[in-house]
């Protein structure tokens, strides 16, 4: 079968040439999008740059947008997105600056990882042998350690789109891994730091990260769990909590966010100064085409509902 890929090109040494380029390659039922892109790079056009390595969804190199949604291209079969041979559009991952073609700058991603104190901080005397812990606790954490730091969630996170200071789903999932580690002695400090702005309360529960994560890490669920833990250990919630509720309600109903409604709901309709303070974010969003004037439904509202049910069930 022939398959056409429409690939976003960008060369910083020749920015004028940026745009989509089409390539047509031979594929079979088992060809992944990565295989197809490798055929392009190796047999047709060596100027195409991308990151890839393991071919087996473990190294986290190959997150890109496939028809607008972040995916690991090595884990995505061509026929799963184009069953009838439709043209597939490939863009670099979002919310990160493009370096060249499909390669994006991960520095902000790694900086945020660093920001959450990403290492175990045990307290007290170090045992001679291992720390004792239950297998259940460990198996639970493996669900988060499964994260391969691919950045798919960051690419599609709706908050990062308007506010690049947000720690984001991947770093927060990583933070959860330490918060919940029975060997770590700094749970409270960690939660305190995460309770600050750019932390757990900035998530709007849009669920994108849950949907696109190739490893079922469920970053949003972890963020919600840390909100609960933060409150349990005595941190007061911020205006974030109400923001969140409104967000979740509209997404669940329409399968998509109603940003117009959101700001009003979370600030309270009479809180005029606060609403005005929100304006820059709103304006930024409008400029980027992210703030619709009328609420619109997702093409797949049922899928969104299913994701909601999955999370709420956990």
């Amino acid at each position: 079968m022939e398959q056409t890929l429409r690939v976003k090109r960008y060369d910083p040494e020749n920015p004028g040439s940026a745009g989509y380029q089409e390539y047509t390659v031979e594929v079979t039922d088992t060809t992944t999008i990565l295989d197809a892109l490798l055929t392009v790079r190796e047999e047709m056009d060596g100027t195409l740059s991308m990151r890839c390595s393991c071919r087996a969804s473990i190294c986290g190199s190959c997150a890109m947008r496939v028809n607008g949604q972040a995916k690991l291209v090595c884990k995505t079969r061509v026929n799963s997105v184009a069953p009838d041979g439709e043209t597939i559009t490939i863009d670099p991952a979002g919310n990160m600056p493009v370096i060249k073609d499909l390669v994006v700058e991960f520095k902000p991603f790694w900086d945020k990882m660093r920001a959450i104190t990403p290492y175990l901080q045990p307290e007290g005397e170090v045992p001679e042998a291992e720390y004792l812990a239950s297998d259940d606790e460990m198996v639970h954490l493996v669900g988060v350690v499964n994260c391969i730091q691919c950045g798919a969630c960051v690419s599609d996170c709706t908050v990062l789109e308007v506010d690049s200071s947000f720690l984001g789903p991947a770093a927060l999932a990583k933070a959860y891994r330490f918060v919940k580690d029975p060997r770590d002695g700094h749970q409270k400090d960690r939660l305190g730091a995460l309770n600050e702005s750019s932390g757990v309360w900035d998530c709007t529960r849009c669920m994108q990260c849950v949907e696109v994560c190739p490893k079922d890490v469920n970053p949003m669920g972890r963020i919600m769990a840390m909100r609960d833990l933060a409150m349990e250990v005595g941190y007061n919630n911020t205006s974030g909590s109400r923001h969140t509720e409104s967000f979740a309600r509209t997404v669940k109903k329409n399968g998509r966010l109603d940003e117009t409604r959101l700001a009003v709901d979370s600030m309270g309709i009479f809180n005029i100064p606060a609403l005005l303070a929100e304006a820059p974010v709103g304006l930024r969003a409008i400029r980027k085409g992210k703030f619709p004037w009328k609420a619109h439904k997702s093409s797949e509202p049922n899928k969104v509902k299913r994701v909601f049910e999955k999370i709420e069930g956990e």
Binding site: T47, S49, S53, S61, E128, A129
Partner: protein, 557 residues
């Protein structure tokens, strides 16, 4: 200008473990890596890491014996002893750093069984052990504020008066070439699986480290020892971990028979990898395969168990072949997986080139000999990664700082420019594929003089056409096309050294099974092959295996 006391090339488990040690020692050390550390191929290790833990009734001697027997008596026994003795501490240290190992009912670290061993002494994190360990070592590197040159590609060593004084490397983001001077360099560049096609290895496993050391005059040892893993997917070569069999999966032929009972009545599916791969190949060759494959059957383990303990395997099976392991057996076959051979080092990582150290898959200490036991490589990386850092730091203390010689950088620049200037002709990828397929055909699970000669001739021919390899991409930023062309240059060296080793060893031992010389020959071949670069070709010498307590006997499973 960049300079450090110790420069570590590679940020996989060996490189990061070395970096952590150097940082703890307060040495000015840096790591250079062509991919972000987290993307290093160590992340692909699924099954686990071996350690005989004496505090729970295991004995280091047992692990040492299994390793030596697994190696078909080609491992140096002093090195194995050291690794087995240090293993327990290495695991506990990793646990203290934060690795989320699976536990037993008492909350202690749990174990699973792995091939070539009767004792369950493989520690693991689901089916993502390598990734979980790599993340933690990276976390420690962050904590210790280790200096990391991330996405920099090392293309040459600075060699002066026969000693190593640093590297020449390209910053992949800018395309600029730089000299990074160092008093000591540790090669931790991993394996070279992509010299073969197919292979379980990631696309970045191209073996520059082996090629660089070889050109600098260090011998590559036992390069003919290529491990074919018994359970890989046809076509892509993607691995299904030995953990499946460790947890009880069966291997079945077309008659639905657990054929390992005829080849290894005692160990069955958990015999050494070379033994299992040969058995599978024989079944396939004698017509009892299933479309050129064997079936790996996990159904009796049950869905919950599979998803909890072997989740990543299930993911691979579902995503890449559309098979649910709880419902159906999955077709697998032997596939190239690991290079036991490597840069010859002593137990402290020192190579024959002063100032150059090596650790991890790129090195050969030798603890794996003719056949590596599953879950011994991760152990090798942390034990010898640490030791090489200690030795390199010591060496750096006494070494004088290198005086700058810019001419080397100019000739390296000229090498890049020649590739960029060459008009379109051969593509590196085409040459690479040709090389890879010839290597699997010639230096396969079974080999003989004819197949070795054919591979040797092919590699010579491809080396001849290398000067015609050109690149499409003439740009500076993230030019992976250019990197592939340079990688290929070193891959051809590695291929050539593998062929030379295979040609030299006139017996069958471990993974080197010659149908024309099927017997092990301890009288003449209890020896390592050492391949030295010699002009355009190579020269092979030999070196006696170190035998301490374990006298070679016949190897039965």
């Amino acid at each position: 200008m960049y300079q450090h006391d110790v420069l570590i090339i590679g940020a996989g488990l060996a490189g990061l473990r070395a970096a952590v040690e150097a940082a703890r020692m307060g040495v000015d050390a840096a790591v250079i890596t062509k991919v972000h550390p987290i993307r290093s191929h160590s992340n692909a290790a699924q099954g686990g890491i071996n350690a005989p833990m004496t505090d729970r009734g295991d004995e280091w001697e047992g692990h040492a014996l299994d390793t030596i027997k697994g190696s078909d008596y080609l491992a140096d026994q002093d090195a194995v002893e050291l690794m087995s003795r240090e293993a327990g501490d290495a695991i506990i240290e990793l646990e203290h750093m934060g690795v989320i190992f699976s536990r037993n009912e008492d909350g202690q670290l749990g174990t699973r069984r792995f091939g070539g061993q009767k004792v369950a002494r493989t520690f693991y994190v689901g089916a993502i052990t390598g990734s979980a360990m790599l993340q933690v070592l990276y976390e420690q590197a962050v904590k210790l504020d280790v200096n990391i040159y991330e996405e920099w590609f090392v293309s040459n060593l600075i060699i002066e008066d026969g000693a190593c004084h640093g590297v020449m490397a390209m910053n992949i983001h800018t395309g600029e070439l730089h000299m990074i001077r160092a008093k000591a360099v540790i090669m931790a560049t991993g394996g070279a699986g992509r010299v073969f096609e197919p292979s379980t290895n990631a696309l970045i496993c191209t073996g520059e480290g082996l090629g660089l050391a070889y050109r600098a005059g260090a011998p590559l040892m036992d390069m003919e020892m290529i491990q074919y893993h018994p359970t890989t997917l046809a076509g892509s070569g993607i691995l299904l971990s030995e953990a499946a069999r460790g947890e009880g999966a069966y291997l079945l032929n077309s008659d639905g028979e657990r054929f390992m009972k005829t080849y290894a009545p005692d160990y069955l599916e958990l015999a050494s990898r070379d033994v299992v791969s040969r058995s599978e190949q024989t079944e396939i060759d004698e017509g009892r395969g299933i479309d050129g494959n064997i079936h790996l059957d996990l159904r009796h383990l049950g869905r919950t168990f599979i998803e909890e303990r072997l989740g990543y395997l299930q993911e691979v099976a579902v995503e890449f072949v559309g098979i649910d392991l709880a419902d159906d057996p999955i077709p697998i076959r032997p596939g190239m997986h690991y290079i036991m051979g490597g840069i010859k080092t002593d137990v402290d990582g020192a190579t024959e080139v002063p100032g150059l150290y090596a650790a991890g898959e790129t090195a050969n200490v030798s603890v794996h000999g003719g056949n590596r036991l599953g879950a011994n490589s991760l152990l090798d990386t942390v034990v010898f990664g640490r030791r090489s850092a200690v030795a390199a730091a010591e060496y750096a203390k006494s070494a004088e700082r290198f005086s700058s010689d810019e001419s080397m950088l100019q000739s390296e620049q000229a090498r890049y420019q020649a590739l960029l200037d060459r008009p379109a002709d051969l593509r590196a990828s085409a040459v690479r594929r040709d090389m890879g397929e010839s290597m699997v055909a010639g230096i396969g699970v079974y080999r003989d003089q004819n197949s070795i000669d054919a591979a040797t001739a092919k590699i010579k021919e491809l080396r001849g056409v290398y000067s015609r390899v050109a690149v499409d991409n003439k740009g500076k930023v993230f030019n992976t096309d250019l990197m592939s062309a340079i990688e290929l240059d070193y891959m051809l060296d590695v291929a050539q050294a593998v062929c030379a080793g295979a040609d030299a060893r006139k017996e069958s031992r471990g993974a080197h099974f010659r149908t024309d010389m099927p017997d092990r020959d301890d009288e003449n071949w209890l020896k390592h092959t050492l391949v030295y670069k010699d002009g355009d070709g190579s020269r092979v010498e030999t070196n006696d295996v170190t035998i301490t307590d374990w006298t070679p006997i016949e190897r039965v499973y």
